[in-house]
Symmetry: C2
Subunit: 281 residues, 2 copies
């Protein structure tokens, strides 16, 4: 079962962001990064490179709505991570994944998730940004799904996680950076939870993606929640407010656990039927 690296095309204008992306994808065996230089037309570039590109990394705003429509029309939509503010908006298509620029430690896990989601949604024929899916576009998408699954090995990626990137297999420094990054994501999630459900949902998905692909123990998720709620409670007390309403944030943790649990459940390998019982023991 061989797995060749997936080629990710970065559409990133900001040099500092590009440097951060380079840093967090350096040394990843699963991904090979290429760039679309600022000034190049991303649609033409994607058309020229054809099947050699497997996924996109898009700085928010680097693609105009017209360009996104062109990509959609030409069946050039690929698995995508959008880097930018969690606004709740769909930038390319419904299977895209969002990550703020201060949480790029989680980039490789969210690329895994972007490919998984794309494969899963593609197989249900529910990709695209609202436009009706023609037969040609659908067959193009199947071809892409086939190609991705071929590169990733037989089983597809949906439960094919990379153990070298599991939290417990990271160096202490990398593990600590990843946990801090997860804390920032969870903090964004809590802050948006009652304020902007669509934005909160993007943060939730990014947290759950990283938790799943880094094999984060469930107790760690609960710790991150409790630590943040404790910090909020202290802050409120200092400011002379009551923090009783913080209990309502248990709903936020319930949402995270339910999503994560369903993700694990759907990632279980298909169970083969039990063989008919024989008389021998």
């Amino acid at each position: 079962m061989s797995a060749s690296p997936l080629t990710v095309l970065a559409l990133v204008d900001d040099p500092a962001l590009q440097a951060a992306v380079d840093r967090w994808l350096a040394g990843q065996e699963r991904y090979r990064l290429e760039r679309c230089e600022p000034g190049q037309d991303p649609v033409a570039e994607l058309e020229r490179r054809g099947d050699s590109i497997d996924a996109l990394l898009v700085q928010q705003g680097c693609l105009t709505p017209v360009q996104v429509q062109e990509l959609s029309d030409r069946s050039l939509l690929l698995p995508a991570v959008v880097i930018g503010v969690m606004s709740g908006r769909v930038d390319l298509h419904e299977a895209e994944v969002h990550l703020p620029s201060d949480q790029l430690e989680q980039l490789s896990y969210n690329l895994d998730a972007a490919v998984s989601r794309f494969l899963a949604r593609g197989s249900q024929g529910s990709l695209g940004n609202g436009a009706p899916v023609g037969d040609t576009a659908l067959s193009d998408r199947w071809r892409l799904a086939d190609r991705l699954q071929g590169r990733l090995g037989l089983a597809g990626v949906f439960y094919k996680r990379d153990p070298s990137r599991f939290l417990r297999n990271l160096s202490p420094g990398d593990a600590s950076e990843l946990l801090q990054s997860l804390q920032r994501t969870y903090r964004d999630y809590l802050i948006q939870y009652f304020r902007d459900p669509a934005a909160a949902n993007q943060a939730l998905e990014s947290f759950v993606n990283t938790a799943f692909f880094s094999d984060l123990p469930i107790t760690k998720t609960i710790e991150i929640h409790i630590d943040l709620i404790d910090a909020f409670a202290k802050q409120l007390k200092l400011e002379g407010h009551k923090g009783g309403f913080l209990q309502d944030y248990r709903l936020a943790l319930l949402d995270v656990l339910a999503h994560l649990c369903e993700m694990y459940r759907r990632s279980m390998p298909p169970d083969l039927p039990m063989q008919k019982a024989t008389s021998a023991s």
Copy 2:
């Protein structure tokens, strides 16, 4: 990958309970039921039958503490489901599973869980009811674990669920009975949650076992919780009480989701290391 049925010895005195057990294990390909008749000495019987028995089904109170100690001394402790009141007490050993007699619809799933837990704990050397584990006993247990894993196929049972018993593959009548049974378990769990944590924990485990082995969608667990809390709230209102404290039961749902999620997480097949990236695409 062949799987021969596991032989379960029932130590059940009550004829009505025995009839219910017969009913809920009838037609199960994974389990073959045998009985230790009332009046027979269970210790002698287990010794006589030796390796032919794989698991126990014990009516609470059918084994005296002295008999349990004898079984432990002779390394005859097996995966076990204890049928009776959820008291929080350990009857045989720490890997046992508890199920009340009005919830036997879940018996086969909890037998799966009893075997899984026994294999998992056995491999950590943490079985036994507190007594120090001698080398002989440990090697006996390893032999049993080997035998069980041999009968169940290569991978062991920890994530080898039987899809024919998944909720979605049951007849509508069986599915409805299973859901009602799960509701009774969850109700017991809520009632004990703040009153008797040890008893609540046994109910939680039985619920989570059935949810896992029946591949219950996560949303169904949440529905069961919400429906019960709504029913409690109505009841309290009728009685003229306030139901605000019912929000505290979100903690109970958090516990269930966290346990279930961790069970799924640990049941993921071992992820193979990614192969070194090659230059070909």
